[in-house]
């Protein structure tokens, strides 16, 4: 590997690494718009110009071959001026409408103006006007005046989504991103162009005008819309999910996620079950658990428990333990009637559930309709919406002496359960607690709590522990865990199941653990400096640049 000198620092270049990525590892941020580590090199923004000893003209860092002993300067006066010059050109026809721009706060034009520009405007000619609020497709709007024509979006559509919807129309200063007539931006990954747009040109229809980005609090999470388990970041404010964006993970989803996963967030914010309800009556949680405990005691083992593959590992382990070891139920299974989704060879999986792998590993897989018909006095549903997927199931509820359901949303199942005189318990979504899912390949991926639980909602595993308490049964085989409930579940319940991976719950790395991981080897993070320069949350990079600039 060639060793190069960047601003007096020596560093060895990585395999297939360009100067921008190598410099980032040396702590030198080279400003850039068009280069993205997962896309081909376009070399058109010209912001990453650097000086290379022995080469007369400034060179673009994104496409300059690295040679051993190369001496690179990124802060010489000539380069400072070149960067300032390019920024001035980029901003020449820009509307400078930051106060109404969604990108403000995470915009490279803003960042670089502060770190490399700081010039007084010299524009003395009229601006070129271009189309605004252009409807490109179901999820994306274009403001062509804010566009820096880096073509990241064009390259994304041709190289990643492989759908070629976008192109650059016109030429010269009239160039603009466009779709072809009658062919809107409809690929299943279109939202990613908003993420990779370094400026406010491509806007998410779902997030537009929802929140200023600096109000957003961020939590690492995992997308629950299919079995891929794309790593995501939940950006939230006012205890509402404002947007969900992909989080870089080279093993799972690279920098991307599909539109379905991205936009499937309203169910977390809206129509939530926030309190226990029995028929018409609202109960405090303790009363609800006591009611359920009494009914469970009366039913004996004639109980059917239907879990969901949307539940986390901790939830499945806890309920499985509760109804096999603590209070054995006649019928226990997990399944869903949700139909399969379109699958492709990019990210999307047909299985619409985040945790089917674990349902199978825990030997819980079952047919929901069969469970519905199994002879029992009490039916307990945890998660999902079976009646919503098959309205015919509603009629079957009358067969039971008592029906209880822990649900996140006021869905068709909730309505039917209440109509049948049953008990509704408020269930927390994965956005409200920390846990793990195992994706289709068995990769253990941890999600963090983003929101405070809605109303008195509880995570499913907390409910299981609570229920045992109300039943006056000992839930924990080895005593109450001293750290967290989740840790206790992994330490005390998981080892009994050979198919489940052995993990240290407190130390699941942000990129997850593959199923062959052994606890003896602490995994090394796969996230490197290169990614830090372009992962969606790249906020730290310009700080480094500024520090270098003035330091």
């Amino acid at each position: 590997m060639p060793k190069i000198h960047i601003d007096e620092r020596e560093i060895e270049a990585g395999a297939n690494e360009n100067l921008i990525a190598t410099a980032a590892r040396a702590g030198v941020h080279i400003p850039h718009f068009c280069w993205h580590p997962a896309l081909s090199v376009a070399g058109n923004c010209r912001q990453c110009l650097v000086e290379i000893e022995g080469v007369p003209k400034p060179q673009i860092a994104c496409n300059t071959p690295l040679k051993d002993g190369m001496v690179v300067r990124t802060k010489s006066p000539a380069i400072q001026e070149a960067r300032r010059g390019v920024l001035e050109f980029l901003l020449l026809n820009h509307p400078i409408d930051c106060p109404i721009c969604d990108q403000a706060g995470e915009c490279r034009l803003q960042e670089y103006y502060m770190s490399h520009g700081l010039y007084d405007a010299r524009r003395n000619v009229d601006k070129v006007h271009k189309p605004k609020v252009v409807d490109l497709g179901p999820h994306v709007l274009l403001d062509a005046e804010r566009c820096v024509l880096c073509t990241r979006c064009v390259r994304f559509c041709s190289e990643v989504a492989r759908s070629d919807e976008l192109y650059v129309a016109e030429r010269g200063s009239h160039s603009e991103i466009a779709t072809f007539p009658g062919q809107p931006l409809v690929n299943a990954y279109s939202g990613n162009v908003v993420d990779i747009c370094p400026v406010g040109a491509l806007l998410s229809k779902e997030f537009r005008f929802k929140s200023r980005v600096w109000w957003l609090k961020k939590a690492d999470s995992v997308c629950t819309s299919c079995a891929r388990g794309c790593n995501v970041r939940i950006d939230h404010h006012w205890n509402q999910v404002q947007r969900q964006v992909p989080r870089y993970n080279p093993e799972v989803n690279s920098y991307w996620m599909c539109d379905r996963g991205r936009t499937h967030i309203d169910w977390i914010n809206e129509q939530r079950v926030t309190a226990a309800q029995h028929g018409e009556q609202t109960l405090v949680l303790r009363e609800a658990f006591e009611l359920l405990a009494a009914r469970l005691a009366a039913a004996g083992s004639a109980v059917t428990v239907v879990l969901s593959p949307k539940l986390a590992n901790e939830d499945l382990l806890a309920w499985r333990h509760l109804f096999t070891a603590v209070l054995p139920a006649a019928h226990l299974g997990a399944g869903s009637l949700e139909p399969a989704q379109p699958e492709d060879d990019i990210l999307r999986r047909a299985d619409p559930h985040p945790n089917t792998w674990s349902v199978q590993a825990l030997e819980l897989a079952a047919d929901v309709r069969a469970l519905w018909q199994a002879p029992a006095k009490l039916l307990l549903l945890v998660g999902d919406d079976p009646v919503g997927w098959d309205p015919a199931l509603a009629a079957g509820l009358a067969r039971f002496d008592f029906v209880a359901a822990a649900l996140t949303n006021h869905n068709a199942t909730a309505t039917s359960v209440l109509a049948a005189g049953g008990l509704l318990l408020p269930l927390a979504t994965h956005a409200e607690y920390a846990g793990t899912f195992n994706n289709y390949a068995g990769r253990v991926q941890r999600f963090e709590a983003a929101l405070a639980p809605f109303g008195s909602a509880l995570a499913a595993h907390e409910m299981a522990v609570e229920l045992a308490l109300v039943l006056r049964r000992e839930f924990w085989p080895a005593g109450k865990p001293r750290t967290s409930v989740q840790q206790g579940i992994w330490q005390q319940l998981a080892p009994a199941i050979p198919a489940m991976p052995r993990i240290d719950w407190e130390h699941v790395p942000p990129e997850g653990l593959n199923p062959t991981w052994k606890p003896t080897a602490r995994p090394r993070s796969v996230l490197t400096g290169e990614d830090a320069t372009d992962a969606y949350s790249w906020g730290a990079a310009p700080e480094a640049a500024r520090a270098g600039e003035h330091g």
């Binding site: 090199v41 376009a42 070399g43 058109n44 923004c45 010209r46 912001q47 110009l49 007369p56 003209k57 400034p58 673009i60 496409n63 071959p65 001026e81 070149a82 010059g85 390019v86 001035e88 050109f89 980029l90 020449l92 026809n93 010299r122 524009r123 003395n124 000619v125 009229d126 070129v128 820096v148 024509l149 192109y167 650059v168 016109e170 030429r171 010269g172 200063s173 009239h174 160039s175």
Partner: protein, 436 residues
């Protein structure tokens, strides 16, 4: 406009020798004067020998950059498994340049024979002629010549009995200057938008259809048959120093007889003007300035031009370039601000818009230039344009930005009083400026 060869003094001519022969575009005419014999000589020699011969000739690319053609051919990787392509750049869109059109219209078989020899030298089976869309006449003549050559067996499966298949295809451009830039040309030829490519990789390694490709100008390739016929050393004896051979000059502007003239390189500009172009068109209006190599090169003042010899080195010493040999002669009374504004408008129109400095810079400079010409400019505008030019030149993928910066900076430097006068007057101060 005439080819100008009739009245020009008798000097060695290579390219324009048959321009005025009746039916010069026909195969019979070409073979009658010994055509398609050079390629037979070439096919009888190993390809490396042919390249070596062209290297010996010192033939430099006639498209504008002046890179030695034989050296360029040598960049094709040895033993490549991919096909090798030859692309002929016939996009000739540099303002003031009209020599390739003459070759294609008046001696197309000379170009085709050059293509045969070059294909053999670089081991290519397929040549594409990327012709400027507006050149409909040239395309028709060239296509007829190709059809004749196929019928006579000079092209196709077994050209001149060599057993080396060579097919030639014409591809028409659609009116973009940038498609004359060699990698923009490749993109356009591949059916994409004419955006120049970032280098490396260079076209000789990764060119057309991801394969090794040589791109040469029409005039360059048209020289090749003569070189093979008479030897590279004979060619190198013509001209001066490293500027070997003859050159077609496209003389336009305020001269008595604009046209295409051929002389050995190194001819004094004064000779070109007075003996070939018939001097200035108006006896009362002496020479004011000369753009010696197409609109993208720095301008020369009258005194500079009248003392310079027309070859790569001499022009280089004056800080300008031979470029495409589009010699534009400007007479006294011409508004230089207006002339520059016309040039900047061209580059602002033709910038492909890929690189930031060119996309935004060319149009910004153009806007300022027209304000200078029409009134309303401030003294700061001159310094601003100089600074914008500095921020554009050498900072883009291709040299289109440089091509605007070079005339802009040289005009503003060499004719500064005119620019200042425009600012002071708030309009063009010339009473009756020449505007044609």
């Amino acid at each position: 406009m005439t080819s100008g060869t009739k009245e020009s003094p008798a000097v060695q001519r290579i390219l324009s020798l048959h321009f005025d022969t009746p039916e010069s575009e026909r195969l019979a005419t070409y073979t009658a004067s010994g055509g398609y014999s050079a390629c037979r000589r070439a096919f009888a020699r190993p390809p490396e020998d042919v390249t070596e011969e062209v290297k010996k000739s010192g033939l430099r690319g006639r498209g504008g950059a002046g890179f030695p053609a034989g050296v360029k051919w040598g960049f094709i990787p040895k033993n490549t498994e991919r096909p090798v392509y030859l692309c002929i750049n016939a996009d000739e869109s540099e303002p003031g340049t009209f020599k390739d059109r003459y070759i294609m219209e008046r001696d197309p078989h000379m170009l085709l024979e050059g293509i045969l020899i070059t294909c053999w030298a670089i081991r290519s089976h397929d040549a594409y002629i990327y012709i400027r869309g507006e050149f409909e006449d040239a395309r028709r003549v060239l296509q007829a010549a190709i059809d004749e050559a196929y019928a006579a067996g000079h092209l196709g499966a077994n050209p001149c009995g060599s057993g080396w298949r060579i097919d030639v295809t014409i591809h028409r451009g659609a009116g973009a200057y940038i498609c004359g830039e060699e990698t923009g040309l490749l993109e356009s030829l591949e059916g994409k938008k004419g955006y120049p490519r970032i280098k490396p990789p260079f076209p000789a390694v990764v060119g057309l259809f991801q394969s090794p490709t040589i791109i040469n100008n029409v005039e360059t390739i048209a020289c090749v048959p003569w070189i093979l016929e008479h030897g590279g050393e004979a060619y190198a004896r013509i001209g001066v120093g490293k500027s070997t051979g003859t050159k077609l000059w496209c003389i336009s502007g305020h001269v008595a007889r604009p046209g295409v003239y051929e002389t050995p390189l190194g001819v004094p500009f004064r000779t070109l003007l007075e003996e070939y172009a018939g001097g200035m068109r108006h006896p009362d209006r002496p020479l004011k300035a000369v753009i010696p190599g197409g609109s993208s090169v720095p301008v020369l003042t009258a005194s500079e031009a009248l003392g310079v010899n027309m070859d790569y080195e001499s022009l280089g010493q004056l800080g300008t370039m031979l470029g495409s040999a589009g010699v534009m002669v400007i007479e006294e009374g011409t508004c230089m601000v207006w002339a520059l504004a016309v040039i900047t408008r061209f580059y602002a129109e033709e910038s492909c818009g890929q690189c930031t400095p060119c996309r935004e810079g060319t149009s910004w400079v153009n806007d300022i230039m027209w304000r200078l010409e029409r009134g309303g400019a401030t003294p700061e505008d001159i310094a601003l344009v100089h600074n914008l030019c500095d921020n554009m030149i050498g900072k883009t993928i291709c040299v289109l930005a440089d091509a605007m910066v070079m005339p802009a900076k040289s005009f503003m430097k060499k004719f500064k009083p005119e620019f200042d006068a425009h600012i002071a007057a708030g309009r063009c101060p010339l009473p009756q400026p020449v505007r044609d």
